[in-house]
Symmetry: C2
Subunit: 343 residues, 2 copies
DNA sequence: AACAATAATACAAACGTTTGTATTATTTTT
DNA sequence: AAAAATAATACAAACGTTTGTATTATTGTT
C-alpha cells in the first residue's frame, strides 16, 4: 500500500503478450485485421491486468472528446435543469457526456466559460445566452472557428451559424391570455421577466395582441417586468407590485411558474380568493405548480424535450462533414395549456 | 469559407517567429527562462494568430484534467442541484470544472458512470451513492486504484478511503420532533424516504428517540416510508397514507421539503387546518417551502455548503502527495430549525 | 582577448492512443 | 516446391503539449 498503482496501458499488455501496441489497440477495437485468437488473448489479458483506456489520449489522437458543453444562465431554475436532463438523456444514448456550466446571468462569465470550452475540451456547445448578452460577436467568432453551437431559450437571431430550439412564446401567451379573456376576465395583469430576454419580450407581445384582438384595454399599471435575478428579491418585487395597484385585476398572466406561484401567494396574502376573485396562469409547468393549493394553471413547456432536441441538433452538426457550411435549423416545439384549479 | 480553420498551435507560433516550440510554451507560461523581449513577441503573435491552448494535450502531458466528476442520484431534486452549485463554486475558484452525471437511482448506472470517470477524464469524484448500492466494492476498487473520492448525503461507512460530508441527521430530526413535542403535540406522524438510505434511517432514529425521550408512544400506523422514486407517485403515496389513518395526527415530521409540501397539500385537501389542527415540519429548506401557503417550517440543511466542503476536501486530496495513504476526513455540518407558519 | 559564468534558446523524449505503411508469416495456386 | 496472394503483425508518425538536458549566445572577469 501507500503507492498509487501506475495505470496499465496498451504498452503493458503488449509487452506481456510479446506483441505490438498497435495490435493490442486494434484487438481491443475488434478490428478484423487481428486474428481472432490474438484478440481473445488480448481481451483476457486486458481484463486480468485491469486495463482501462485513457480517454484523454484517445481524445488527443482522435480530435474528439465526446463531451458536449452546456451553458445555462443559472442552476436554480428548474427549467434549465430540466433542459439539461433532456440533453443528458439524448447525449448519453449517443455516447456523449455533458459538461454543465452556469454563466450566473453574466455576460462576462458567459464569455469566460465559452473560452474554457473552446480550449478543446468540448466537441460542441448548447447554450442559453444571458440577457446581458447584447453583442453576440463572441458567439459568431466561435462558430467561425468551427465550433458547433445550438441555442435555446433566450435565442439570438443574429447568430447565424447556430441551430435554435424554441417554443412559440408569442402564440403560447396569446392563447393563455385569450383563455383568461374567454373566462370573462377583463383586467388581466402581466407579470413578466427581464425585458432584455427575447422569451419575455415575446410573451409580452402575445399578451398585448390577445388583449387587442379582443378589444380589451391595456392598463400599463397592470404590467410588471420583474428584474430580479435572485429568488429572494422576486418575492418582494411582486408583493410591492400588487400592493401598489389601483386597479384590481381579475386575472394574472405570469411568465414563469415561479412568478405564478409568487403571485398566488401574494394574492392569498392580501386576501384574494383564487380563482373566484382572481385567476392565475403560470408558464413552464415544472412541478411546483401541481403542489400548491390551489394548483396552478400553466402553459406547459416541453423543457425536457427542448433539451433532447438541442442535443439531437448538436450531434447532427457534429456528424456533418467539416467542409460544408452548416445550414441553420430552427426547431419550434409545441406548448399546451394545462388547466388546473387557479383558473 | 466552407472550411473549418485548423487550430493554431504552439508550432505555428514557433515557426512564424523562428524559435522553438519549447520556447513558445515557456514564454506563454511566463517562465523566467525566456527573455522578456521574446516573451512579448510570443504573446503578441499568439494574440494575432488567435492561439488557444489545447486542453486535451495539456492534460495528457500533465496527467491532470482539472475536472471533478460529480455523480448524483437524480437531477430533479433541488438538494442535489444545490450541492452541485456549491461544488461548482468552490471548484471554479480553484481552477476546476465539474462534470455532472446522474445515476438515476440505479446501481447499474452508478457503476457505468464511475467507469466512464475512471477513464481518465476526471481527477477525482464527488458522489452520493444510490440507495441501490449494497455492495461498495466498486468504490473501494476505485479508491485503491488511486482515485480521490468524497461522499456526501447517502454515505457508506464501509468505504474507507473516501472523505465524507454529512449532517447529523439523527440529531436534526430529534430536535425537530422535540420542537413539535414541546408545542404540545403527541400524535406525531413520520413521513420518511427510501428505507435503504442512511439519511432516512437516521432521521427515523431521531424521530424514535425524541418520542422515547419524552415518553410519547410510537404508533406504527403514523409512520410512512415513501418508496417512490418519482415525483408523480410520491403524491399518491402520501395521499393514501393520510386517507387510511385511524389515528388523527396533530403534527407531521416529513423527511424532505417535498414530503412536507405534499403533506400540507394533502392535509389541506382533507380539510385540516395548518398549523391549528396539524403542524408540519419539513427537511431541507430549499425554496419551495417559503412559497407555499402556509410557509413550511423546516430543518435547514446547508446544501450549498455541503457542496463547497465536498469540493474543498476533494481538492485537498488532489494536492496530497501520491505516496502517502490518505487519511479519511469526515465533516459534519450543522443544521438549524427555521420556524415558519406551518407550526 | 581569452575564459568562465550565466543567460537564452533548441533538442528530444514523454504523455497513451490511433492509424497508414511496411514487413513478416501463412495460405493458396500452379 | 516455388511463386503469388493474402493474412497477421510490427513499425513509426501523429495528436499538441511539457520539461529535462544539451547547446549556443551573451555578458562579465581578468
Amino acid at each position: 500500500m501507500g503507492f498509487k498503482k501506475r495505470r496499465v496501458k496498451l504498452e503493458d499488455i503488449a509487452r506481456r503478450l510479446n506483441i505490438s501496441i498497435a495490435t493490442v489497440s486494434r484487438a481491443l477495437d475488434e478490428n478484423p485485421r487481428v486474428k481472432k485468437s490474438t484478440q481473445e488473448k488480448v481481451f483476457k489479458m486486458a481484463k486480468v491486468m485491469g486495463y482501462m483506456p485513457n480517454q484523454i489520449a484517445k481524445s488527443l489522437s482522435s480530435g474528439k472528446t465526446n463531451i458536449i458543453g452546456v451553458l445555462i444562465p443559472r442552476y436554480d431554475e428548474p427549467f434549465f435543469i430540466e433542459v439539461c436532463r433532456g440533453i443528458d438523456q439524448y447525449a448519453r444514448n449517443h455516447n456523449y457526456k455533458i459538461l454543465i456550466s452556469s454563466s450566473r446571468n453574466s455576460y462576462k462569465f458567459e464569455k469566460e466559460n465559452l473560452i474554457s470550452f473552446e480550449k478543446g475540451l468540448v466537441d460542441g456547445i448548447i447554450l442559453s445566452p444571458t440577457h446581458e448578452t447584447e453583442n453576440v460577436a463572441h458567439l459568431n467568432d466561435l462558430i467561425n472557428k468551427g465550433m458547433p453551437i445550438v441555442l435555446f431559450d433566450n435565442i439570438r437571431e443574429e447568430v447565424s451559424g447556430a441551430d435554435h430550439v424554441i417554443i412559440n412564446d408569442e402564440k403560447a401567451s396569446f392563447e393563455a391570455v385569450e383563455f383568461l379573456i374567454k373566462k370573462g376576465n377583463k383586467k388581466i395583469a402581466f407579470i413578466g421577466g427581464i425585458k432584455q430576454k427575447k422569451v419575455f419580450q415575446d410573451r409580452y407581445k402575445g399578451y398585448i395582441s390577445a388583449l387587442a384582438h379582443h378589444n380589451i384595454p391595456l392598463y400599463d399599471e397592470l404590467v410588471l417586468h420583474c428584474n430580479s435575478l435572485d429568488r429572494e428579491f422576486e418575492d418582494k418585487e411582486i408583493l410591492n407590485f400588487f400592493r401598489g395597484l389601483n386597479i384590481s385585476p381579475d386575472a394574472v398572466f405570469a411568465c414563469t411558474d415561479n412568478y405564478g406561484l409568487l403571485t398566488m401567494k401574494t394574492l392569498l396574502k392580501i386576501g384574494k380568493k383564487i380563482p373566484d376573485e382572481v385567476a392565475v396562469i403560470g408558464f413552464g409547468d415544472l412541478g411546483p405548480g401541481e403542489i400548491f393549493v390551489p394548483t396552478l394553471t400553466c402553459v406547459s413547456q416541453p423543457s425536457f424535450e427542448m433539451g433532447q432536441k438541442a442535443a439531437e441538433l448538436l450531434i447532427k452538426q457534429l456528424n456533418e462533414s467539416e467542409d460544408i457550411d452548416h445550414i441553420k435549423t430552427i426547431i419550434k416545439l409545441e406548448t399546451k395549456l394545462t388547466e388546473r384549479e387557479s383558473t
